[in-house]
Symmetry: C2
Subunit: 137 residues, 2 copies
């Protein structure tokens, strides 16, 4: 299988792990290394295995059901590093009912032995219409 | 110079270009290629040279002065691809007065010939305190 396909498979597995709401599934996706980083939409960055897995545990505990549709925005890779930018359409059901949200995410994968593993997930909210005029921040 | 230093220099040059409010400076940083992507905080993704440069032109036109302090959160690189996650502390002065904001950014650089060039800027707002409990989105 081409390496690009392998990267996309692991990216898809990340979203299946998200939907599973099972920490054991999410643990299989991430590289267990000190330099991993996770930015949930609106959050400050989390670094390292403990804080990142703890955050997913909290997220999974607060949700009844999550569905994520993923559309690829950008894909770039080199020998041992791959970057995928996606637009996530999230549908979640929790104590507050059902809600939908659009999230942009940059996912970075590192080739560890023969396995592509997630080392960065940077998710961010989409607040502005496509034709709106930006401010600096 | 080590390649990691070169990448960090170009990353610093990106922020100096931002502060310069001059499009010609920003044009030197980006790779003029179809696969470049820029996500301003809260915006939908922009792809390609024209839309991205147009967005910077709008941003520069609306600001009188911008200062960006940058703290590195994560750095990873391979032979021809490098990823830097930073926390930006932005101070801007425009028609509405002076404002400060914290932005998280993932910047991805590609080695083009002997020059590292920006191919992805993904900026996102920080809305939540570090000790807050997350929601799924």
């Amino acid at each position: 299988m081409a390496q690009a396909d392998s990267v996309r498979q692991v990216n898809a597995a990340f979203y299946r792990a998200f939907e599973s709401l099972e920490l054991a599934q999410m643990e299989k996706i991430w590289h267990r290394a000190p330099h991993i980083t996770c930015i949930h939409p609106g959050w400050r960055p989390l670094s390292g295995w403990g804080p990142i897995m703890n955050s997913w545990e909290q997220i999974f505990a607060s949700a009844f059901e999550v569905k994520v549709e993923v559309a690829e925005v950008q894909f770039t890779m080199d020998r041992g590093l791959a970057v995928i930018v996606v637009e996530e359409t999230l549908t979640q059901r929790d104590y507050d009912g059902v809600s939908r949200a659009t999230v942009l995410a940059t996912n970075v994968f590192e080739l560890v032995g023969a396995q592509w593993m997630l080392i960065l997930h940077h998710g961010s909210p989409v607040a502005m219409a496509p034709d709106a005029v930006p401010r600096v921040q």
